[in-house]
């Protein structure tokens, strides 16, 4: 039995080693090297890259990224919870609505982000529509700002919030809501005192699933923020492309990974994993 267990786990272990541990090791290695004269990486090995990170500039960008990711997670929660609740209460139409939630994944994220630009820009669908209707005279500045970035992130990661919340709501025993009403709770009170607390595992899981990719996002801030709204992902991207400083980019991304891991560890230590 144990032998079978060992051999059936071999493919998973091999995949994990080849496509996770090895690349991670390469990144760690690069982060300890120096930028070559024509880009790339070269010896000597030292901690210079990590010392450079102490620059307040990067700290500011990091804090901004946390802020934007946090706000986006909050809005995703605000939108995702009612949507998940609606789907969980839709009876036979549940699977249709779930498919609609996943539908955007059929198209490239890049294409969908361009679609948002087409909607939001000064000559875009919304602004030209409103101007044609005479509601506004000047186009509203909807693109190339933080709000546009948050909008793009919320849009992009909403399904990751909806699905875990839906899965907890779907398992919610309907007799608990009847019991709440029976004991005098109005629908709002019962939502707040019974549904939300019992959906907390899904809300927490969804928030982690949204917050982490938002924190490392680079495509959305690049396109919808127009370079004016920089997040840490853009800095990493720049180091690997324009700046051609792979070792520094590697150290930046490792620090980001490390921070997320520390946060998750603190969350589990504080007993937060009981919600998962």
């Amino acid at each position: 039995m144990n032998r079978l267990r060992f051999w059936t786990l071999v493919p998973a272990r091999a995949l994990n080693f080849l496509f996770f541990l090895v690349p991670m090791g390469i990144v760690v290695l690069y982060s300890l090297m120096t930028r070559g004269p024509y880009g790339g990486q070269a010896p000597p090995f030292n901690l210079d890259n990590y010392v450079r990170l102490a620059d307040p500039l990067y700290l500011t960008i990091l804090l901004r990224s946390f802020w934007i990711a946090g706000i986006s997670t909050f809005f995703a929660m605000l939108l995702g919870f009612p949507l998940a609740l609606f789907i969980a209460n839709s009876g036979k139409s549940r699977s249709m609505y779930l498919n609609l939630v996943m539908l955007p994944f059929w198209t490239s994220f890049l294409v969908r982000t361009y679609a948002w630009m087409f909607l939001l820009r000064d000559t875009g669908l919304i602004n030209s529509g409103l101007m044609a209707l005479g509601v506004i005279r000047e186009p509203l500045p909807m693109l190339y700002n933080d709000a546009a970035v948050v909008l793009g992130l919320v849009y992009g990661y909403l399904p990751f919030m909806v699905l875990p919340i839906y899965s907890t709501l779907e398992k919610l025993d309907p007799s608990l809501l009847e019991a709440a009403a029976d004991l005098g709770a109005t629908p709002w009170v019962s939502l707040w005192r019974v549904t939300v607390p019992l959906a907390l595992p899904g809300i927490v899981a969804g928030s982690i699933l949204v917050f982490i990719p938002c924190l490392g996002a680079y495509l959305t801030p690049d396109l919808l923020g127009g370079g004016k709204s920089v997040m840490i992902g853009n800095v990493v991207q720049n180091q690997f492309t324009t700046a051609r400083d792979w070792p520094f980019g590697a150290s930046l991304s490792l620090v980001l990974t490390g921070l997320v891991m520390v946060l998750l560890w603190l969350f589990v230590r504080k007993g937060g994993d009981k919600y998962l």
Partner: protein, 323 residues
């Protein structure tokens, strides 16, 4: 003073079927009332209309004389003990009990909770979450949660079905004692005729969405309105136009003079049930009758020649059910 609860021609239609058809009944204050019947007879739907989880298609539900049929559950002074207890898993036993009191903004919260915990003998376990309570303990907390609001009517949906048989009998007598003590009107839904007869002051036996018979346990057991009622409440030996219950048929080795109510028979099978025997005997006309025989009597053996006899007052005269 009007009765605490009255149903007037209540019906409930679902898209696929009619669950309750023109049900009328009156329940007096302080009584323990049982809605009895096989699954799908409409008893649970009737209970849910009293609780407010279902709105009747037609008819009135009068609580203390005023129609509550259109009111949502949270606006009725009626509480429910659910079949699966429906305790809030994220709250402790105490918080579960406090839930309703807090919604009402009731004063003396702690005192009321302590009293009701005492009543259901659950002192000392109030800080536990439902997951750490046994089935019987969960039931007590569910009962306490419903009782603490001092409802006009307390509804219990199959309250004993989730307990194991031994515990069920114990809780059954406790439940009755508790109802007598608090004096609140209880309506209990059950499919177990023994439970209904032992617990209730009055029983409504439902069948296919209508009340087949309404009366005291003695009434409906001894004077059933039709063969469905007679058969549901216990075994009956049907002998043409009338029937006799097994415990009312005597069996003897004495060669009594035969007649209409004393017939020769031969023993077919003997079943030992612990406290008694069920002896099945074949009459000369080919019909079989089952009789209940005390364990203290000398056991009968198959093929033994016997007499079976009964008294006229134990005959249940009912025409056969028309198909």
């Amino acid at each position: 003073m009007p009765p605490v609860l009255e149903l007037r021609s209540v019906s409930k239609h679902f898209p696929t079927h009619v669950a309750v058809r023109d049900v009328s009944l009156t329940i007096d204050r302080g009584k323990l009332f049982a809605l009895l019947g096989p699954s799908g007879c409409g008893k649970t739907t009737t209970l849910r209309m009293v609780a407010g989880f279902e709105i009747p298609t037609s008819g009135q539900v009068l609580l203390n004389g005023s129609d509550i049929a259109p009111l949502p559950p949270y606006e009725r002074n009626v509480t429910t003990v659910f079949q699966n207890y429906a305790l809030f898993p994220h709250l402790t036993a105490k918080q579960n009990i406090e839930f309703g009191l807090r919604r009402k903004g009731a004063p003396d919260l702690d005192q009321k909770v302590a009293q009701v915990l005492d009543l259901v003998q659950m002192k000392g376990k109030e800080e536990r979450k439902p997951a750490r309570l046994s089935g019987g303990e969960k039931q007590r907390i569910a009962l306490a949660r419903a009782l603490v609001l001092e409802p006009d009517v307390l509804l219990l949906d199959e309250p004993l079905s989730a307990l194991d048989p031994k515990l069920r009998k114990q809780v059954r007598s406790e439940l009755k004692a508790l109802q007598r003590r608090v004096g609140i009107t209880f309506i209990i839904v059950t499919h177990d005729q023994e439970e209904a007869m032992m617990l209730a002051d009055e029983v409504a036996l439902m069948h296919k969405g209508v009340i087949a018979q309404l009366g005291t346990p003695e009434d409906i057991y001894l004077r059933p309105a039709n063969r469905f009622v007679a058969n549901f409440l216990g075994a009956v030996n049907w002998l043409g136009e009338f029937g006799v219950r097994p415990e009312a048929i005597r069996i003897t080795r004495d060669l009594l003079p035969t007649g209409d109510r004393c017939r020769p028979a031969s023993v077919e099978t003997v079943m030992f049930l612990g406290n008694s025997f069920h002896v099945q005997a074949k009459l000369s006309d080919g019909r079989s009758v089952v009789t209940e025989v005390s364990r203290l009597e000398k056991p009968f053996a198959p093929a033994e020649r016997v007499r079976v006899w009964w008294n006229q007052e134990d005959e249940i005269h009912l025409p056969p059910e028309s198909a």
